[in-house]
Amino acid sequence: MKTSTIKKLAAALALAVSATGALAKDITLLNVSYDPTRELYEEYNKAFVKHWESKTGDKVTVNQSHGGAGKQARAVIDGLEADVVTLALSYDIDQLHEKAKLIPKDWQSRLPHNSSPYTSTIVFLVRKGNPKNIQDWDDIVQPGVGVVTPNPKTSGGARYNHLAAWAYALKHNNNDPAAAKAFVTKLYQNVSVLDSGARGATTTFLERGVGDVLLTWENEAYLALKEQGADKVEIVIPSYSILAEPPVTVVDKFANKHGNAEVAKAYLEYLYSPEGQEIAARNYYRPSDPAVAAKYASQFPKLELFTIDAVFGGWQKAQKEHFGDGGIFDQIYGK
């Protein structure tokens, strides 16, 4: 009797073990992101993998792809099978619907805060001692100041840089577009190199020693300061800048194809969790969760921020006027 019971228990145990093994899945997700989010998602992925395994038993491997936001969006449209995209601006994600119907038109309403779990802005990174005494946008358009910014045709960050300069000029010239164009023209006259993405521009400025000021994401500037040290670079906060709202979404077509729809959704939702928000803040992204934002308030300087909608009437309009073929950037720099 005793032997029989042990056998039954052993069989039940073996069945349970095998059933668990059979149910647990190995999942691979591809997150196609913009240039300076490498460090953020390296840390976040580890946290999510742990979270998801504890919740479901499934092992997730998250692969990352980084580059200029526009370029990354085009890669997905051309067939790079991303389960999720975490790009710099909504226009690039809109293209996934417009050009390839990979996502629904209302993708931005699927997650809180217009699907932007964190925000950022554009600041200046200068060399130690700020030898050109750069304090605000007016200083970087002076002759002899070397400015480093990426190419707005391929980089989301560069588009924020361009629009921030334009909005500053409008604000200080009675909203005169001609004055703004003249101002931004002067800015580009100081730009010698256009990298394809924000990380490339950082390399140009820090590692190749080109230029006096780097226009970059706030998170990228703080990361550079952390890595290079205060004896090499300084951050200058301009008086007025842009509210950057990098959005995220599941790429429905590919996530469904891979059978990853559920985990991809969870991956993005977890960005809004306290842990996800903490990780964003630690990587110098401004968290959307009020509690976490309050905790890290001292880390982020206060400055006047404008939104794309308020000054430019939305990304679609701004994109067409400034970065479309024959647009303002082409008129200034490319043609």
């Binding site: 070397g146 010698s192 190199v193 256009l194 990298d195 394809s196 490339g200 140009t204 190749r208 020693g209 080109v210 230029g211």
Partner: protein, 538 residues
């Protein structure tokens, strides 16, 4: 800029020239490949700067003399340093962009294997190839083939003689085929080959390949069915300008589906297909016949992986079987042709169902075949056995119908030898040295010989009472020959990989019919023909 550089060079002569020199070296190192990738405007700017610095160095040195000592001027130096750094970075970015572009930019392909476009990863490709054959046919004077008589009187014989002397010397564009082929990913491919030669406009090949595995490749569309050896050889690669007699029994193209593959380490190739069932020698486009045909072929190269005398030996057998039921409008039977492309056998036909011979039942073919290649020597051969069920309604009565199984056979062997040292193969000849007399290149020269025979069942010529050309016979001895014997010799010259010039002499003699009178049939005159060809195939 010159003043700034002058000042700088005065103060930092060594540092300035060294910096520029290093950058220039960095930009142009690694030979042509690297320098080709540097944007020309950057390279030009840098070269100009370097020249200016070197020139100014010389001037300063001459003015200052040996006691000159540089004085620090950081602002100017840093300005120039920035220019150099910017150029360096631009070059770096340009190279990165070029590297990225190479991953996606399609590659234009142009060469002896055609012209095309393919994706950067090589998985997608469209290629334009071509085959053009310009021929000349010259028949020996007075022996221009057929002398078939329509009547028995002297006048009838004279008129018919004139009327049927159809073998004419001529030039002909035998084949004019633009070939569009490509690959669609790692698995799929296609080919579309129209032909505008010989006063035709037809689709020769139009098929889709799905190469799932070397041992399982599926082909769907119009292509050569897997039966005979010579038919399966590319029209650009057959040794003689015209196919041997045996090809009269085998379809040129058919529409269907086949699965094929190499197994046993490529020592055995198999093919199994299901087709409409094309007529002998025909290129089937429309099938009026519900019954289909199965074709299969096994071809072994048992020593393919063992270098030695037998490595180039291959042998196998092809076969087909199917039902064919013809009608008055389409008998599903065909004529047989000589090397000079003259008809020497045809079944009886009439304008009505009566007297017209129709395919009516099974058509089976069995084709043992072999090839052997060793150095410049090439040997190919095949033997064809064909069984064809036919029916003829020879009168208006219900019983005035005769059905028989007609048994035909034929064979041919072709030998070739490359005099200039190249290796012979089933897939054509590549000259070791292209034609270039100034540098000792004469192309590849090949001699060749062929012998073959074709026999139509004698029963086709007799009626059921044993009378030659009688009431219910299937063929008339006055019009058709029962046997043909062919031999030919020739030479092929390959000045380049894509051009071939051929000259063949072929003689075909006919036995048992093809001329004379109904009461006294005679052998058709022998055919002696010179066949010349200039071919471009790429």
């Amino acid at each position: 800029m010159n003043i700034a550089i002058h000042n700088l060079v005065q103060k930092h002569p060594i540092l300035t020239s060294t910096a520029l020199g290093l950058v220039l070296a960095a930009l142009t190192h690694d030979g042509h490949a690297a320098s080709n990738e540097v944007p020309p405007e950057i390279l030009k700017q840098l070269q100009t700067l370097t020249q200016q610095v070197e020139q100014l160095q010389k001037q300063v040195k001459a003015q200052q003399g040996p006691s000159y000592q540089p004085v620090a001027d950081n602002a100017e130096f840093e300005a120039l340093q920035q220019k150099v750094l910017v150029l360096e970075r631009k070059q770096e970015i340009a190279q990165e962009e070029l590297k990225e572009q190479k991953k996606v930019i399609p590659v234009v392909v142009a060469g002896e294997k055609g012209f095309g476009l393919k994706s950067a990863d090589g998985k997608y490709e469209v290629k334009l190839r071509g085959l053009l054959q310009a021929d000349a046919r010259v028949f020996q004077e007075g022996l221009k083939g057929q002398h078939a008589y329509l009547g028995d009187t002297a006048i009838q014989q004279r008129d018919a003689d004139i009327a049927t002397r159809t073998a004419t010397d001529n030039f002909v564009v035998r084949r004019a085929r633009p070939i569009i082929e490509g690959t669609l990913g790692e698995t799929y491919g296609f080919r579309i080959t129209p032909d505008f030669g010989s006063n035709n406009s037809t689709l020769v090949d139009g098929y889709i390949d799905a190469n799932y595995h070397p041992a399982a490749k599926v082909r769907v569309g119009k292509f050569t069915p897997p039966i005979g050896l010579e038919r399966l050889q590319s029209s650009a690669d057959t040794k003689f300008n015209e196919l041997g007699l045996t090809s009269n029994f085998l379809p040129s193209r058919d529409i269907g589906v086949q699965v094929a593959g190499d197994v046993f380490d490529k020592r055995l190739n198999y093919t199994l297909g299901f087709f409409n069932g094309a007529n002998d020698g025909a290129s089937g486009d429309i099938d009026p016949n519900t019954d289909k045909e199965i074709a299969a072929r096994l071809f072994a190269q048992p020593f393919a992986n063992s270098p030695g005398f037998l490595q180039g030996l291959s042998f196998g057998v092809g076969a087909s079987t199917g039902d064919a039921k013809g009608s008055n409008g389409n008998t599903l039977l065909t004529t047989y042709r000589s090397s000079g492309q003259e008809n020497f056998f045809s079944y009886r036909t009439d304008t009505s169902i009566s007297n017209t011979v129709l395919a009516d039942g099974t058509r089976d073919r069995l084709v043992p075949q072999f090839s052997y290649y060793n150095g410049g020597l090439g040997l190919t051969g095949e033997y064809v056995i064909e069984k064809q069920d036919v029916t003829r309604i020879y009168g208006t009565g219900l019983t005035q119908t005769r059905s028989e199984e007609i048994n035909n056979d034929g064979w041919n062997v072709t030998a070739s030898y490359l005099l200039t040292g190249e290796d012979a193969s089933f897939k054509g000849v590549k000259p070791g040295k292209a034609f270039d007399p100034a540098n000792g290149g004469w192309g590849a020269w090949e001699i060749k010989a062929r012998v073959g025979e074709l026999n139509v069942d004698k029963d086709a010529f007799y009626d059921t009472k044993g009378i030659l050309g009688g009431t219910d016979s299937f063929a008339q001895a006055t019009r058709s020959a029962q046997s043909a014997y062919n031999w030919g010799v020739g030479v092929n010259w390959y000045p380049t990989n894509i051009v071939r010039v051929s000259l063949d002499y072929e003689q075909t003699s006919f036995d048992w019919g093809g001329g004379g009178t109904a009461k006294n049939p005679e052998d058709r005159d022998s055919e002696h023909v010179l066949l010349g060809r200039v071919q471009v195939a790429f």
